[in-house]
């Protein structure tokens, strides 16, 4: 069996184990409504996680996604309040803003050669500040949240039947993301850039363009995430997505995307996002204080990361032993 398949099975196994665990602790856990809720709650982090997966594959990172969401949300709020543009135009402009934010990140990283961590830390502040700069204010100049209640917008926060639109978008984006990753040159290039940049260059791959496109994907995903979040909240604030930037990264890493680049895929992130959401939901159902939820969540992440490190070391050891055996045989 392939190593990647085993890794995928382990992720799935951990997700199942978690769900079994929580269905023992709460009888409200394992039913269709709650499972759909888990998927819904995983969706925004998961959607952004698709883009973040691309960036991490190129051995980068993006800390600006939360601020990018806020910027997109506030742009749309301004359009909503001050213009007569149709809703679809508002959504389109929101996505363009996301793309532009991603482009900016990409240029800073790939053309100015700033380390990704620092660059996106800086843009995290910049996007948030821009959000405040364009924030909706009341007559006294105090920043307020802008209600966005127009029905053709709010419906995106709702559900068709029992399935939420955002969940559908999540699944569609994951499928699209996986297809792009596995079926296009761009996707192959992401792996090549992350795993062996020199070899990628020798094969004629444009490194800078690949990295910029990865960051633009994140921007687009963040914009989509912002649309669904604001539609569900029926409003937006300048604080939208504050502290949210780590959730997509955590989803990707738990799903087996390697922070040093080159390994992992979108389906892994999908499972990772579900895992984090199932975890949140299960801890919530323990009817404990949210404080305990945080502690338990943190501990489980540490355990997963430690398990992953141990597993990788073990696989490495097996591979080495295999190599030695071959060498001895020869």
């Amino acid at each position: 069996m392939k190593q990647t398949t085993i890794r995928r099975l382990i992720s799935l196994g951990m997700l199942c184990a978690l769900m079994v665990l929580f269905s023992c602790t709460s009888r409200y856990y394992l039913n269709a409504d709650n499972l759909l809720e888990i998927v819904r709650d995983a969706s925004v982090a998961g959607i952004i996680g698709v883009g973040v997966t691309y960036v991490i594959l190129t051995s980068g990172i993006d800390l600006s996604t939360g601020s990018c969401m806020a910027l997109v949300g506030m742009t749309m709020a301004n359009i909503y309040r001050y213009t007569l543009l149709p809703i679809w135009m508002m959504l389109l402009i929101g996505m363009l803003v996301g793309l532009a934010a991603g482009l900016f990140n990409g240029l800073v990283v790939a053309k100015l050669h700033l380390p990704e961590f620092i660059a996106t830390l800086a843009t995290m502040g910049i996007f948030r500040a821009l959000t405040y700069a364009i924030a909706i204010r009341d007559a006294g100049g105090i920043i307020t949240s802008q209600a966005m209640t127009y029905s053709s917008f709010v419906k995106w926060g709702g559900a068709v039947g029992r399935i939420h639109y955002v969940s559908i978008a999540f699944v569609v984006i994951v499928i699209l993301g996986q297809i792009v990753l596995k079926k296009t040159r761009f996707g192959t290039n992401l792996y090549a850039v992350g795993a062996n940049r020199k070899a990628a260059e020798l094969s004629g791959i444009n490194i800078a363009r690949t990295r910029i496109m990865a960051y633009m994907t994140v921007g687009l995903c963040a914009a989509v995430g912002a649309i669904f979040t604001t539609a569900r909240l029926q409003s937006t604030t300048a604080l939208l997505g504050n502290g949210f930037e780590f959730d997509p990264i955590a989803a990707a890493v738990v799903g087996g995307v390697s922070l040093s680049g080159g390994y992992g895929d979108v389906v892994g992130t999908f499972i990772g996002a579900l895992f984090m959401s199932a975890l949140d939901n299960g801890v919530l159902k323990l009817q404990m204080n949210t404080a305990y939820q945080y502690v338990i969540k943190g501990v489980i992440i540490i355990l997963v990361v430690m398990f992953d490190a141990w597993y990788n070391a073990w696989m490495e050891k097996l591979a080495q032993e295999r190599g030695r055996k071959e060498a001895v045989k020869a």
Binding site: A195, R322, A330
Partner: protein, 506 residues
């Protein structure tokens, strides 16, 4: 005859900052031949290859491809012509499949999406054509290093390459993997692909090549046809007779004390890098370790110094067993100059001062908790004086210095200690001639003061010139011992290549 030649280089000259590396080199490869390129380290092989693949630009001379004059200014130019280089450091992408690697950047597409089926079929066709033991859909990360190399070869062939350049292709392969590579090379020859084969291993060259070009000191030393390739003759040509005669015999015989300082008994690592190695080293002796790349020399000295664990055997320093760890080794009087200078030898961002002091803080005076900057600097000045670094600026960042000076810094951090054993692994690789001599001087000086120096070197001239006694390793075992007063380079090379029969050896 001429129309048979696919690549011809005439009168190639190249110099780096005024030092000629290649002068008037002629080189030609015929269609469907395996042409070996040989020469000692620094003879100019890699420079020639880099000129042919467009990494360097030549100073003068011309290159002909298929009879037409061409200019190769980048690796892309060389690919367009139909040349591909299989690099020593692998350039495959592990997380991708074999087929994805082969067609990286040129994937066949249908409606904008990669046509995996077609790509796999095309790869399978290539695999069938050359009979490689590969599967198109297998992930490269699951392949051993030998198969990864085949993927790279396949990638080279997929661009309709008519000439492959292989630089030390067997350096990291096991015997079995090397065997299958040879049969593949044979198949390629039958298909009309030309190969430039660079290797230090005489047996391979002898077995594979149709013709052989030997470079010596950046000049053509000889071009030999297959029936003229005879190991001893090749060695003679590579080394140049004059050097061979003088190297060992002109040296004064040294008298070493009989006091055994270091004794290694029956050392094995359990995985075959080295097996049942035993030797003794005496006070004030420079003990050379010779052998081909991959013979297990580096692994052996790393184990002696305590970096890697060994499974059985003992290491005795002045009769006392040592616990394997660099820390205890250093305390006991060991010093170690690693092979990978930049990666393991020094701290590039720090100054000479800090680098030389790194191993000596137990000896530097302290005022309470604070290290005496004056004492530290004084020690560094002393080290700089002894190893003669120019300019003698203790604050200079080591990462920005020349290779020779960097190596002197690595040596310098051990010189200030009360050394008993100093292990140096390829101390002069990539270092200019002047600095080389100075490093030899330092090693000899140390030996005069009673330090045991263990010298691992692939440079035969250096090995014979500096060592008092030479142990030759082959496939993880010590197979031969020479007194350097009587040994010649060819004797060492023959032993290392396994050409010398046991009964011949005394």
């Amino acid at each position: 005859m001429m129309e048979n030649v696919i690549l011809e280089a005439k009168g190639i000259c190249k110099s780096f900052s005024g030092v000629p590396v290649l002068s008037q080199v002629d080189f030609s490869v015929r269609k469907g031949e395996i042409h070996a390129l040989m020469g000692e380290n620094g003879a100019g092989k890699s420079t020639l290859i880099k000129i042919l693949t467009g990494v360097y630009t030549k100073d003068s001379g011309s290159v002909f491809w298929d009879g037409k004059k061409v200019e190769i200014n980048s690796y892309k130019d060389c690919q367009k012509l139909g040349m591909a280089c299989i690099y020593q450091e692998l350039s495959v992408i592990p997380p991708l499949t074999v087929a994805q690697n082969v067609f990286l950047g040129r994937e066949p597409r249908k409606l904008g999406l990669i046509d995996h089926k077609k790509m796999n079929e095309m790869t399978q066709a290539l695999i069938d054509q050359y009979d490689f033991p590969l599967e198109p859909g297998a992930l490269v990360s699951n392949l051993g290093i030998g198969l990864r190399q085949l993927v790279e070869i396949l990638k080279g062939l997929s661009c309709d390459s008519r000439l492959l350049i292989m630089d030390e292709p067997t350096a990291s392969l096991s015997g079995k993997e090397a065997e299958s590579l040879f049969s593949i090379i044979d198949t390629l020859r039958k298909k009309g692909v030309s190969i430039i084969y660079i290797s230090h291993r005489l047996e391979e060259v002898y077995r594979l090549s149709d013709r052989l070009t030997v470079l010596r000191d950046g000049k053509n030393a000889a071009v030999l046809n297959h029936d003229e390739i005879e190991p001893k003759k090749v060695i003679q040509t590579m080394i140049g007779k004059v050097v061979d005669e003088s190297a060992g015999s002109s040296k004064e015989m040294r008298k070493n004390s009989n006091e055994v300082v270091l004794e290694v008994q029956n050392l094995s690592d359990g995985t075959g890098f080295f097996r049942h190695v035993s030797f003794q080293a005496h006070k004030g002796e420079i003990l050379g370790l010779g052998g081909l790349i991959g013979a297990g020399r580096t692994e052996l000295v790393r184990a002696i110094y305590g970096i890697d664990r060994y499974r059985e055997g003992t290491i005795l320093l002045n009769g006392q067993a040592l616990k394997p760890s660099p820390r205890t080794s250093i305390r006991a009087g060991f010093g170690f100059v690693p092979e990978d200078r930049r990666g393991q030898g020094f701290i590039p961002l720090l100054s000479i001062n800090r680098n030389t002091a790194l191993t000596n803080y137990d000896r530097i005076k302290k005022n309470g908790l604070a290290v005496s900057d004056k004492d530290e600097l004084e020690m560094c000045r002393e080290a700089i004086r002894r190893i003669d670094i120019r300019p003698a600026d203790p604050q200079k960042q080591v990462g920005l210095m020349s290779g020779g000076n960097q190596q002197k810094v690595v040596l310098g951090k051990w010189l200030m200690r009360d050394l008993k054993v100093l292990i140096v692994d390829e101390p002069t690789a990539g270092i200019d001639v002047g600095a080389k001599d100075e490093i030899y001087g330092i090693l000899e000086e140390l030996a005069k003061n009673g330090v045991v120096v263990i010298l691992v070197s692939s440079d035969l001239q250096e090995l014979i010139r500096v060592s008092h006694r030479i142990l030759v390793m082959r496939k993880g075992a010590i197979i031969q011992e020479f007194d350097s007063g009587v040994v010649t380079q060819s004797m060492v090379l023959e032993a290392a290549s396994g050409l010398m029969k046991k009964e011949e050896a005394v």
